[in-house]
Symmetry: C2
Subunit: 227 residues, 2 copies
């Protein structure tokens, strides 16, 4: 199973890239190295020039894969959510009880690397940190609506859809399932950001230990029909 997962191809909207980075060794290296570099130096300091030097290639070559570093970021993020969907589905397979499934799903979102999975050319540990520290920048732009229309965020939205469906399985009449789902997903990463940089603003520690159980409890209490 581990082996199967390792070589699985994550589907990423092909409008994100100019040339599929999975289609060549160089492409894979671009992805691999950019994860390390963005993780260690931050998105703003990261440039195609620096990446080109690291890869002993040229800027223009990288530009044949990605239009700009913003698109590269979207690629990484989209890949992440695409990958997480597999994890979510696999982890919750055979779970019939919707409450248990919700718990399992939220736990997966909060601790995606629990299974210690490895991947061919993508290092998940730093990628997850990029998600925590940088991913919001992908849609906090003036181009968000066009890019959204082009489907660049669909992998992200599918994760939301699954959570929404799960919540509605538990309480079909709850009117704020969408809002709750997006809060869960956002918080699963943002609370860890706060733990890293604004510990006063959270009760979660850096490992995110109680995060999952907190979020599950919040959801269940919130959607419970009281009578």
């Amino acid at each position: 199973m581990q082996e199967l997962l390792k070589s699985i191809q994550i589907r990423v909207n092909d409008k994100i890239y100019l040339k599929d980075p999975e289609s060549s060794e160089l492409g894979k290296n671009i992805v691999r190295r950019s994860i390390d570099m963005i993780h260690s130096m931050g998105l703003e300091a990261f440039t195609f020039k620096k990446l080109a030097i690291e890869l002993s290639t040229t800027e223009s070559t990288i530009y044949r894969y990605f239009e700009n570093k913003h698109k590269l970021l979207i690629y990484l993020i989209s890949w992440y959510w695409g990958w997480l969907e597999y994890e979510m589905v696999l982890n919750s397979i055979n779970i019939a009880d919707p409450v248990e499934k919700l718990g399992n799903t939220i736990e997966t979102i909060c601790h995606p690397l629990k299974n210690n999975i490895e991947h061919d050319h993508i290092n998940l540990q730093p990628l997850h940190k990029i998600i925590i520290e940088e991913s919001n920048k992908a849609f906090l732009t003036k181009e968000v609506d066009i890019e959204n229309e082009d489907g660049l965020f669909s992998n992200y939205k599918r994760i939301n859809d699954r959570l929404i469906k799960n919540i509605k399985e538990i309480n079909p009449h709850y009117p704020y399932a969408n809002t709750l789902a997006s809060i869960i997903i956002d918080s699963s990463n943002h609370q860890r950001f706060l733990a890293n940089h604004f510990p006063r603003l959270t009760d979660i520690d850096k490992t995110g230990s109680d995060l999952g159980s907190f979020l599950v409890e919040m959801v269940l209490k919130t959607i419970k029909t009281d009578r």
Copy 2:
């Protein structure tokens, strides 16, 4: 009262700027025009050069007020939270019941412009939109820890503290008051962002009409000691 509020000086940490923009007409114009420009063109397209042209002045002159556009953004955000604290306090004055106070406070965070307040040189409407669309960029950087140590985010953190205190007044034993508070504040803006750009991910409309009541309900249900 309106008049009093209009001329009130919002306290902003003086490490954010090089020269206090409130101290001169030009400084006020820098703030005023930058709000309009960032709002209309987005933070990335906004430059000191363009601002200088708009103000018929030069880049170097603007640089005497702010180190760079990032600091200017932090200034605007910090001013906003500083101002919101006044609003929060004023709106909840004389409310003794902590549950009622929480409702009032959250309502203020979600609908800060309800009182149709005007301000001397700061246009609150576009500023609020900047908070919704751009404010996360202020701390999603590699410099966040140094800037946080320097107190650049203290106005923001004080808002959190008030909410935390309020939650603890209702249930002193609830162990996740900090986490819940930061989720509330974050969601009060982020759900409106989603309403604008990802309506499928929220049940809130663009005016944010049910947002306050949803958040209040979520908090109250979550912190309720069930027995």
